[in-house]
């Protein structure tokens, strides 16, 4: 294998470079740098700047160092990420020493594996495009390996045609090959922790509000809830230590126990419901999003006694589930005593001012309903502002909020409200999730991380857990028009990312671009990433009518048949070779028919001599006719320079006629 100007190696290096840098986060920085060095080395070789590969001894030394480096910096990465880093590192080192065919093919396969890993982490249209380009580069490298001297344009044409031909077959295979359940659990990497967190110290949600990442999408079949009803519950926080709300440890234990005993929670449901499907973006935590009481037939999902929808574990990739949400059913407590016990606790020596204020207010309003009404009135009438830039409240945050700054965001108000209620003896808890959602098209809405919200639920004997959102009292715009409008006065929406499309959507074409990208992304997630066993079965059913084994077999066989037909059609030239010289071709056909009659044509014999020889041997009609045709052929072939299509087709007709007449 020559080591200079090897384009197969060049394209392989380029695709390795692209895949290394698009894999991004899962790869360690120094592994990426190692790869960049290896690629640079190959480029030097290609452009003849440098003539020699490094010696085996150098590479071995480098390999040992890298292995130590990986063992040191990668031990905490977990199995999946560790393996990917190891693979990338191996590729970089092999690229430096690649000499033989085996090395080359091994590296091709390894690069394919790196691309697969990329697809595990990234499934957006953009990354799919990038990875497709990488695969094209790999294929180009392969074709340069078998045909090193062809022009690039020709190689790309061949690859392009092959890929286009592969697409219909890919689609058929994808639709027809049964989607199987995971065979075993695969190791997962750490996915981005951009979701809600299990603890809320007022301040956290402000950070979250600065992210324009997608949280999930919901597709409704039927009515869409109005903006003020779009409270997506995610987490219930019942434990408060004066500054931080967290999931109560007792609740966690109870949940674990229930799960072990396989005790489901099926609350009483009544009234109308919203029917929708959620495609959640990848998060490693097990909680899910739902409107009020969610009911799902999905076996992976279960509802806990605090009305929190959960799945078994977090998983790599998007997660899709169907839910019926009963929005008028009250959230009755499954275990009132337990709920009460958890939700009346307040830390003893925190927020003394608030405690004092609550005590005095409670003395005025001994009735629960009156008291709640008074507190609400206080929030509405008081000079409270909604802001994303509250002052720091390290201690007694609720006192500071209520009596000093009077400015905060949802978590501050929710925290204060829940604290006030608990102080007054009314069970209350904080619920976090999302509020809002941009509707697009007819029936789906997208919910972003900046829609994150916190509110309060209070428990009354008659009505169960009831939502009480203090933010709605302070800033009704937040509920009705979303965060952007609510903080418009201080211009802090997505302050950290000034060029976010979500922020620039007022510029008409940018807004349109964002909408377009959103729609593409939605269709991508719903129909491509979300195509599962269920959709496949319903597709079969819609094609076949019923799913009897015979019909499925017929479908399978006919699809395979289709693929066969396509394969044959793509290379029809094998069966119908191209006729370069039609005139000569038809003359040869003529000669064939004469040979069958027993007149063999010597190779050196001229056409006329041959015809004369036949005429000498037999004086039949066909011999004369053959003479005439031969003359015609000679005239067409040698007299004019260019034959018109008409003349050729006339000759063809005559040959046909001749063959039919003198069989």
């Amino acid at each position: 294998m020559t080591r200079t100007q090897n384009r197969a190696h060049l394209f392989l290096s380029l695709s390795l470079l692209i895949i290394t840098f698009t894999l991004g986060e899962p790869l360690l920085l120094w592994v990426q740098i190692l790869m960049a060095c290896a690629v640079a080395m190959r480029l030097f070789l290609f452009f003849n700047v440098h003539k020699h590969l490094p010696s085996i001894r150098t590479i071995n030394l480098l390999a040992v160092l890298s292995a130590i480096g990986l063992a040191y910096s990668g031990w905490h990465l977990g199995l999946l990420l560790g393996m990917i880093n190891l693979l990338a590192m191996g590729c970089a080192l092999k690229l430096m020493t690649m000499r033989r065919y085996q090395d080359y093919f091994g590296l091709i396969v390894a690069t394919f594996f790196l691309i697969f890993c990329g697809f595990i982490f990234q499934q957006t249209p953009l990354f799919t495009f990038l990875y497709s380009v990488t695969i094209l580069l790999l294929l180009t490298s392969l074709i340069y390996h078998t045909a090193p001297h062809a022009r690039l344009s020709h190689q790309l044409k061949v690859i392009g045609i092959q890929c286009l031909q592969a697409l219909p077959i890919t689609a058929l295979l994808f639709l027809i090959i049964p989607q199987i359940e995971p065979l075993w659990r695969m190791p997962t990497g750490k996915s981005a922790e951009t979701g809600l967190s299990e603890t809320v110290t007022p301040g956290d949600i402000a950070n979250l509000s600065q992210s324009s990442d997608l949280a999930f999408r919901a597709t409704f079949s039927g009515d869409i809830p109005p903006p003020e009803e779009r409270y997506w519950r995610a987490l219930v926080l019942e434990d408060f230590d004066g500054s931080t709300w967290r999931i109560s440890p007792q609740r966690k234990q109870a949940k674990a126990l229930n799960k072990q005993l396989n005790l489901g929670f099926t609350p009483e449901l009544k009234g109308p419901y919203y029917q929708y499907e959620v495609i959640a973006e990848p998060v490693s935590q097990p909680w899910l999003y739902s409107l009020d009481i969610a009911q799902s037939k999905d076996k992976q999902l279960w509802l806990s006694q605090d009305y929190q929808l959960q799945r078994e574990t977090g998983a790599q990739g998007q997660f899709k589930y169907q839910v019926n949400a009963y929005y008028q059913s009250p959230l009755y407590s499954a275990n009132a005593a337990f709920d009460k016990l958890l939700n009346l606790q307040t830390p003893n020596n925190s927020n003394p001012k608030t405690k004092k204020w609550v005590r005095s207010l409670r003395q005025k309003h001994t009735n629960d309903a009156d008291f709640i009404h008074a507190v609400k009135a206080h929030f509405v009438r008081g000079d409270y502002r909604y802001t994303l830039q509250p002052i720091a409240m390290p201690t007694n945050a609720i006192d500071t909020l209520l009596f000093d700054s009077q400015a905060g965001f949802c978590a501050h108000y929710a925290s204060a409200m829940a604290f006030i209620m608990r102080e007054a003896g009314i069970p209350a808890r904080m619920v976090t999730g999302y509020l809002g959602g941009e509707t697009r098209g007819e029936n789906y809405m997208s919910v972003y991380q900046y829609d994150a919200h916190a509110w309060v639920e209070i428990w009354r004997e008659q009505t169960g857990w009831q939502r009480l959102d203090p933010t709605a009292l302070v800033s009704p715009e937040r509920i009705l028009h979303g965060l952007e409008v609510a903080v418009a006065h201080e211009n802090t929406f997505l302050l950290g990312s000034p060029f976010s499309l979500a922020k620039l959507k007022d510029i008409a074409w940018l807004g349109q671009l964002r909408d377009l990208m959103e729609n593409v992304d939605y269709l991508w997630s719903r129909w491509l990433l979300g195509f599962d066993q269920e959709k496949q079965v319903s597709l079969f059913a819609s094609i076949l009518g019923s799913l009897s084994p015979y019909r499925i077999m017929a479908l399978t066989i006919s699809t395979l048949f289709c693929i066969g037909i396509l394969l044959v059609a793509f290379q029809y030239r094998i069966w119908f070779p191209k006729i370069n010289d039609p005139l000569l071709h038809h003359y040869h056909l003529l000669i064939d028919s004469m040979t069958k009659k027993g007149f063999h044509k010597e190779k050196s014999q001229a056409a006329i001599t041959y015809a004369e020889a036949i005429l000498k041997q037999s004086n039949d009609e066909f011999a004369k006719e053959f003479m005439r045709l031969t003359h015609l052929f000679v005239q067409l072939r040698y007299a004019n320079n260019a034959n018109t299509d008409k003349e050729i087709s006339a000759f063809k007709q005559q040959v046909k006629h001749f063959k039919k007449r003198f069989k």
Partner: protein
């Protein structure tokens, strides 16, 4: 090892029936074999791995990619066959060689060395002898006809051209397309010339038949001009006259040394037939060089004294085929 050669024999017999020898081949259904290459098998393994990975992660993009690669694999089956089936090749003129020289077989590929875009088939082509490892590689887009296939040394005698394996991996290296072709024709291997230091004939003594004053065409003294006959040496053409008269004219010389030599096996100072033939071979060459008329006795055959290129060839041919006489 033994069973391996037996298998080879069987295979060759089968191939003789399946692809009989020809001067010219157009590859097609009856002569092409196709099977996934090592990389192709690896590639299928990759697809299976990808399917498992895609199913386990419930990742539709991985599954799609898997099916895409499988489709490519399927498409390449016909694509590589189609490419390979456009190859036309024929054997060129084979020149006789001396034993100890490397035998080469010129093979002409259609379209090679024409315009690259006209080339109906692409990709490197590997040529090698049937069941042997060393191969000759060339890229038809970057080669000139004929492709000379070297098969190493051959012993003295007449050899038919061995079966040749032609391979291609185009376009993606997933399939190996190959065929085992047997070309008609044979190669004559002359004995290896061995110099004979003290052979008396050349010094003009014993065993020679003198034929008086009859002058022989030689190179000593210029005698006359005759029109060029095929086989006349180039250095005797009167180039100056060619320029004037526009026809080839040979200068004729007269040689006072007008001996006729008879070379025979018995004269050779050895009992070993091969060695003797080698000496004779050298002598024939020497005689030819020094323009001596010489004849050859070989067992039952004898070639009358003559000189010239054709005569030399006839003699060497006889030496090559001894003792099977002149069979061709």
């Amino acid at each position: 090892m033994n069973s391996f050669t037996l298998w080879n024999k069987r295979m060759l017999m089968w191939l003789d029936k399946r692809i009989p020898s020809e001067r010219k081949f157009q590859l097609g259904m009856d002569s092409i074999f196709i099977f996934p290459s090592k990389f192709g098998v690896l590639f299928i393994g990759l697809c299976i791995g990808l399917f498992i990975l895609g199913s386990n992660y419930s990742n539709n993009l991985l599954l799609l990619l898997c099916f895409f690669l499988v489709s490519l694999f399927l498409i390449n089956l016909t694509a590589s066959y189609s490419n390979f089936s456009k190859i036309q090749l024929q054997i060129g003129r084979i020149h006789p060689i001396f034993a100890g020289e490397e035998s080469t077989f010129p093979i002409w590929f259609s379209h090679v060395s024409e315009d690259e875009s006209q080339l109906p088939y692409k990709g490197k082509i590997y040529l090698k002898r049937f069941q042997q490892k060393t191969h000759t590689t060339f890229d038809p887009a970057h080669a000139t006809n004929p492709i000379n296939l070297a098969f190493g040394e051959l012993p003295r005698g007449k050899h038919s051209i061995p079966r040749i394996t032609v391979e291609s991996y185009y376009p993606l290296g997933l399939y190996r397309c190959w065929t085992h072709l047997k070309f008609k024709g044979e190669v004559i291997v002359y004995p290896k010339p061995l110099p004979l230091s003290h052979f008396p004939i050349l010094s003009g003594h014993a065993n020679s038949e003198t034929s008086g004053a009859k002058s022989q065409q030689g190179q000593e003294d210029f005698e006359t001009l005759t029109s060029y006959r095929q086989g006349d040496p180039m250095h005797r053409i009167a180039w100056k006259l060619v320029a004037k008269r526009q026809a080839l004219v040979s200068k004729q010389f007269s040689t006072p040394l007008s001996e006729t030599l008879w070379l025979s096996l018995n004269q050779m100072p050895t009992r070993n037939i091969e060695e003797a033939l080698s000496y004779l071979c050298w002598l024939v060459n020497e005689c030819h060089k020094s323009e001596v008329r010489y004849g050859l006795h070989l067992g039952n055959t004898s070639i009358e004294p003559q000189n010239g290129a054709a005569h030399r060839e006839a003699c060497l041919h006889a030496l090559a085929l001894y003792p099977n006489e002149r069979s061709s």
